[in-house]
Symmetry: D2
Subunit: 338 residues, 4 copies
């Protein structure tokens, strides 16, 4: 058996807790240090999952007993921490987005590209077992050459106004996940046509943002991708993917907590609402994302579903920028992701 990978966790908030628990449950990982500007958060995490606590992320990155760094701190800190980790020669799993500003992303691009250690982006949906199996079957040619990908992605509830204000807008904050899913199937996107909508939230409209959107991407091979977004969904977290080709259709519907179905005097085959919380819906994905990162760090073969890297994070942001422009100007925007 290989030695476990020794982790520094930067940020012990909601998403940091997810990664800490995954590290605990893995037989191949150990938490060495938990860092958070809020000392209590770091300490609680270390007490529960092992390792020491610190308020200094740079010390955590630099520690000799740290092989890999998970950046789960607020977005504005990502680029700086990523740079430090690259400087220290550590492997990095960085939560998305890299940054909301493409110029800041591009400033660190060459460093990331030439880094000797893996730099992985936290696009967790690539590790969802359902989506990954669909992707594997598309890649295996089951429906032939992909012609259309339909992504439906709706959040249960809109974020609070203060979050909307700093979110970078629906395309950079929410659709960015779907842009990455699109590129998982169609890496080379050549145009973006987006329609932004204001359907239900006065607060989001007041912030100049959209609360729903429809985006059409076209790939270099003539593939089309539709993304349908909304910031609310009464029935839960609506996360679906369909892939269509000359051989037929592959689809993944929504996940419910259990398979219980009820039939009564007023309805039949009634299931439970979809999972509401993204951490519930993507619980397995987060654990598998960490496992894939560990395999990458160890140099194992992950070619069947490689972890997304820095370039994928950058491409998703470029698509979000193009979508914003398209929606604002009412025209198709060509993109060049190379």
């Amino acid at each position: 058996m290989s030695q476990p990978v020794r982790f520094a966790l930067l940020g012990t908030g909601r998403i940091g807790q997810v990664h800490a628990a995954s590290i605990h449950r893995s037989e191949d990982a150990v938490l060495t240090v938990a860092a958070d500007a809020v000392a209590a958060g770091a300490e609680r995490t270390a007490a529960r999952y092992g390792g020491r606590a610190t308020t200094d992320p740079f010390a955590a990155i630099a520690a000799d007993d740290v092989d890999a760094v998970v950046i789960a701190s607020p977005t504005p800190t990502h680029v700086e921490l990523l740079t430090a980790a690259l400087d220290a020669g550590k492997a990095v799993l960085c939560e998305k987005p890299i940054d909301l500003d493409i110029t800041r992303v591009d400033a660190v691009r060459d460093r990331a590209r030439t880094a000797p250690r893996p730099v992985v982006l936290g696009f967790n949906r690539r590790f969802d077992p359902h989506f990954a199996e669909l992707r594997r079957r598309v890649a295996a040619g089951e429906v032939g050459r992909l012609e259309h990908l339909a992504i439906t992605s709706r959040d249960p509830e809109p974020p609070p106004a203060e979050y909307v204000a700093v979110s970078g807008g629906i395309f950079r904050d929410m659709t960015i996940h779907d842009f990455d899913t699109a590129r998982w199937f169609v890496p080379d996107v050549v145009s973006v046509t987006a329609v932004g909508l204001r359907q239900f939230s006065d607060g989001i409209a007041a912030a100049g943002d959209f609360d729903a959107a429809v985006v059409t991407l076209v790939g270099a091979g003539g593939e089309s991708v539709t993304i349908t977004n909304s910031r609310h969904s009464a029935c839960g977290y609506d996360q679906r993917v369909e892939a269509f080709g000359p051989g037929g259709l592959l689809e993944v519907g929504n996940v419910t907590p259990t398979l219980v179905r009820a039939s009564t005097a007023t309805s039949s085959a009634t299931g439970e609402p979809y999972r509401r919380f993204f951490l519930e819906r993507y619980r397995d994905a987060y654990e598998l994302e960490l496992a894939a990162f560990i395999a990458t760090v160890r140099g194992e073969d992950t070619s069947s579903n490689p972890s997304p890297g820095f370039e994928d994070g950058r491409a998703a942001l470029l698509l979000a920028d193009a979508a914003e422009l398209s929606a604002r100007e009412g025209r198709t925007v060509p993109v060049d992701l190379t």
Copy 2:
């Protein structure tokens, strides 16, 4: 084109109306005479669907312009009308059951067996498109040699007390359909094990009858069949069939009026209740049953799904009698259907 088959309809109640409408919609059938002890019923039917009206079923049977007779009158009249139709050399479609008393059935058995014209029993479920397709695929060997057949059959509501009193009991009145379905797949049944239940209806219990039942049949080839019955079902007419063999499982679930599915804050993928009314659930089956009868009368090849005949009606009654005995005595009852 062949000449249309000319029909006498005996009995213009609920089920008689179904047959009259099927005759009207068919391009291969014409209603010549409608007979009912209630003159107004016969007249209304003739006015709507064509032909003349009479209160004398024997005259209708004997008429020169009648090729085929549909017996849709009350059960106690079946044997007498069937005998008259056999005497007159007419083809017969007789509603189930032939009679509730096996001795009366056996009294006419030889006549039916040697009749030159077809005698068909109205076991409509054999013509349900869903069940018939499942049966076709079992017969084609899709799951290999049949090992188990599971029939679930529940009525939306119990019949009125006055009907229960003359119904012959749950096995002869309700399960008889399921016995025929069982024999459609496993013609040679060798034993019956039945459990009768009193779960919800004081009225049915007071009549000495069961309101639910579970029956296990064993076929000569070692096949098992389970029949699960209830006299009520809040979600509608619960009609399902599963066929299991070494190759896997074929199943038909319940039919809803449309395919609309709803997902809301409290549920997902909610369908409409099952069809409640047997005439709705088996509407296509009744029309296809008549079409198959017409094909039989015309001597066309119906070997892929032949209409059930007198012997099938008798066998179903024998199984019902055996089930009654099994339930009363708490033991497996061997049967001989030959």
Copy 3:
């Protein structure tokens, strides 16, 4: 009972046969005259379904024993026959499209608008029981104010090259059905954004047409509608609708011939392919469309699902024209359907 409506059928090809059979099966309709430039077609239809045959559609329209006219002849004849029927004061059920040229449509618009008798367009999907029930539930407010409608519509196979050449292009020939479905839910469309695709057919590309398309409509109330089209679909005729609002999601999936599901060593819950042929898929819709037309002719209340009229046929063509423009120029095109 009312007198049956007396029909002239103009055109006895494939779709004409559908209407002739519906007239035969209805208890409220009778076929008086069948007209076709090909005498044999008219004669065969009259022999089978009743009435007399003619090669002169204008004589059929003018006949005293004709109350209503079904125009099922080739598209280029529609406007002329419609005009004649309006002149003769007859009710009209005209197959879609009215014409491929908006100027020819507009030339007859005022006549149609002021006609004393009903002018109904053959957008059969409005009478599909599944879609109609979904629409009824949206209209009843079950998901609240409609926010998004997703229409998937794929043909099993592309039409022959000679048909493509005169079809008017994918938007006027195929998407036109989906534009009408969109307007059934969102009558007042204000913009069209279309992406045309060339994914698989060299022949269609050579004709300058698209073989797939993605269209986004925006309604006056901020509703979005996506239409996803392809000219091929291996799994059959792919016809789905989803309606989303603050209360949740209503959806109708594809229709299979039966409900049989199979589970084997390699798969589970496998259903049959979707119906392949539009006449099979929409068989009930055609019969219900005729029934609704008869009810309209008789002046019965059809307000719960009124038949689409001339203005609906014109609006669908306007949307098709706008989609063509949008796809060609890569920009959102505003529309005014009033």
Copy 4:
């Protein structure tokens, strides 16, 4: 936070590994000692999941740093180890069955009944999230008073001949799980009617055993339960439950690895085969079973879904014995589980 529960694991074979992994993943448990007659098995387990290794289960039971014992050794050792654990005053999670011989079970019954620490039986299906949710909803009265429970339970493949020989027969080895599931819903069973079948396996027949069975139970409240078993199932591990009452039907179907559905030229909505391996199918159940045992050991409130105890293990064996008798003699066998 409470101290973790300290475990001795007796038996480190297949099912022992499952429990060891569950202990590792739990934040509330720690493995103190792994015991196995095969020293290498104990050592490998301890190396991977912590604790020390031994070949002496009695030493493991008696150790001061052991709070709770998991008995995962071969069936014939269960009673002896259970007795030792009771003597030592340790909490016990004992794999099913307690023993194949009711007299040996009854010999330890009083000791188990009066034990101060919990004695829990490993009927893992009670912790399957799907079945447990169905059970919760039945208990909450969602379908009213339970009238019928239908359990379908088929193994992917028959066990090897040498196992069959010592298995105790299908009712004591396989159906015993279903008897416990039945009693989870209907604790007080009053009669058993079983039909044993020999459908496909000459080896099982040669051993005098059945390879399939149908069992009907009746509860003291008039409830019926059907259990349908087979020792093979091409489509995977077929594990379903339906609960029916006056309010309707609750059901849990089979679990597939992912939700991917495929539609092609030959089929639609095709899912993956059911999970084949019971450890895969019930993976979550095993983890939740351990969590519930820990909660029981800690004295937490588990009244919503209490762990099954010694009496449940005994009752399941009594039902198996009665089923064997019923199948052999072709009669309904009354039972008294008190």
